[in-house]
Symmetry: C2
Subunit: 347 residues, 2 copies
DNA sequence: TTGTAGGCGTTATCAC
DNA sequence: GTGATAACGCCTACAA
């Protein structure tokens, strides 16, 4: 069933049918009788336009490529896709998705495959915020980095969470509750600083934290480096911190999984969270709300990041500066894991 | 940069260039000198084929549509996409993805949009296994239901987890540990049976459980219906169960979040998991391994489900019966939450 | 062994 | 107001 069939059935030329179907009847001054005939033919035949053909002709596929390292491995990273999908739909686009599984050769190949399919642009996404070189293949057309910070100067725009500000927010939360002493970092080392390799979150969060604490005339009492931010590591690290000289009064856990382990260690030690020790965290995975007391966490705005990436991509011709880094705010989710110091046991 | 440009540059006809680039040189007996000239022209110009045009000509887009209700809301449902993506790549296909957000009108519209784009087939996915009517729009071409069980007889194939067998596996786990009495269901009501609306998991798991238990001459001591399988509900339900006449010796929690709440309630009651009360669960989300003791859970094989859907779709012309329901095994992940009865306190 | 030409289904220019 | 006709870039039957 093609447009030609419809035109024939309506007894008009293909051109006329095309104009009517693209809503340019008035403009082309086509009679409403003719329009009606055409619309009826469409109804009767169930005609649907062939978008491939249209794309060939118009040169626009209304499709955006979304290439990520691993969509699924990180649980809520799927929200990145969600946001991108929603924003794409708002602009009447569909997303072509592929995964590189961290393989640079595959990455290049997929980017090229997508360009071959004439996508309007490509979002190259990482599931956790990291530094990376911009693959050459990406330069072949419009593109945006999502959750990736270019290691070198580049013309490609990027969208990342504002990790430094998140660190500041976390530190402020503690200061406002009266914390000054015994604040420990769980996940990154302090003095000397040691962070998981390539992790923007680790270093920028730490920067933000130290910024605020030092402005307030205090600082971290210490920190434990963890290669991998999982519950077991958080558990061990917390145990270790509890054995330090300066008693722990507050823990800044670098993600919610680490916090999960920290909760276990604190409970094992007979310490009451928010009462004996405050905990603030990052990411705001669902588990943060499952814990008791509820874990106060600075959220990764996955959905918003995904949206933003599409929006930046689609307005690349317009306002936004070429190599701009767009930082998306990380909202604080206050729950019950931070206690006021004057109420804390032993204050 | 088109094939015509390449041919011109190599001093051959477009046909010759086309044959060489599609690897049919031998077949067409084209001289290697000519081949070399063409390949060099490709190199020099950086020519890449326009896949839109190729698709128009060949009628095949090598693209599969993946339409889901909500990709991202459920955390590990992203693995569905992952599996689908991998299987698609194995067959040299790309996925065009969209979300309906549960809106039937949008669903129809998206399915049609995908067909307009000449996708080879459509996977209609739900993020949790449920019954649903097959939308009419889906019948317009090849399609597979993923995590959706058609309410009525249909020609559309479906891929779902084998929930009944999972229920049997969970019950067997308890029987093998010597459990007979005080086995409670957390998440569904028993006598009268009451399950969350539309949830295949709830009813089929329960069926499997009761099948195995009754074959062993025993049965569930009771169950608490929960509308929504979240930790808080699991907590309350477990509290309630602990107050029942028949003492709880084993809990079958209908997902890991419910188990999470159950753990909290058991701990509150001073009961030791695996020692005083066994717990088995379903889904195997990451939290199952974070809990202490580790939670034994029957896993939802998201990745495999996604793969299977694509495989069924791509071989739809071949073996598989039209309306077939493909059930994917749910593997048991044994951890430490089930204790042997002879070792249980008070046995 | 290589080249010519037609067509996939649209859109869009230009006559009538 | 409407209708031929030519592209878009590629594939392929057929001719040479």
């Amino acid at each position: 069933m093609t447009l030609a069939d419809v035109a024939r059935r309506a007894g008009v030329s293909q051109t006329t049918a095309s104009f009517v179907l693209s809503g340019r009847r008035e403009e082309m001054r086509i009679s409403s009788q003719v329009e009606a005939r055409i619309l009826r033919a469409v109804q009767e035949t169930g005609y649907r336009p062939n978008v491939v053909s249209r794309s060939l002709r118009t040169g626009s596929t209304h499709t955006i490529g979304f290439v990520s390292d691993t969509v699924a491995t990180t649980p809520f990273a799927g929200h990145l896709i969600w946001g991108a999908l929603d924003a794409a739909r708002d602009h009447d686009r569909l997303l072509l998705i592929a995964e590189t599984e961290g393989d640079p050769a595959l990455e290049t190949q997929l980017i090229e495959t997508m360009r071959d399919r004439q996508v309007e642009g490509i979002v190259l996404a990482s599931m956790y915020t990291r530094w990376a070189n911009v693959p050459r293949a990406l330069l072949g057309g419009p593109s945006v980095l999502l959750n990736v910070l270019p290691s070198k100067e580049t013309l490609v725009a990027s969208v990342i969470p504002d990790e430094a500000e998140a660190g500041r927010a976390a530190a402020r939360l503690l200061l406002e509750a009266g914390h000054r002493e015994g604040i420990y970092a769980v996940g990154v080392g302090v003095d000397p600083v040691r962070t998981p390799k390539g992790s923007v979150a680790a270093s920028e969060r730490l920067l933000g934290i130290e910024d605020v604490l030092s402005s307030a005339g205090t600082g971290l009492a210490g920190g434990v480096f963890l290669d991998d931010w999982q519950p077991l590591g958080g558990y061990d690290a917390t145990k270790q911190i509890l054995a330090r000289e300066v008693p722990a009064r507050a823990l800044i856990c670098f993600n919610d999984r680490v916090s999960f382990g920290a909760y276990q260690a604190l409970e094992d030690a007979g310490l009451k969270i928010a009462h004996d020790v405050s905990v603030v965290s990052f990411d705001d995975e669902p588990v943060a709300s499952w814990l008791r007391p509820g874990l106060t966490s600075v959220a990764l705005p996955h959905y918003e990041l995904g949206r933003k990436a599409i929006e930046v991509l689609l307005s690349l011709d317009g306002a936004s500066r070429p190599g701009a880094v767009h930082r998306v705010e990380m909202p604080v989710r206050v729950r019950e894991s931070v206690g006021r110091v004057e109420l804390l046991a032993g204050a």
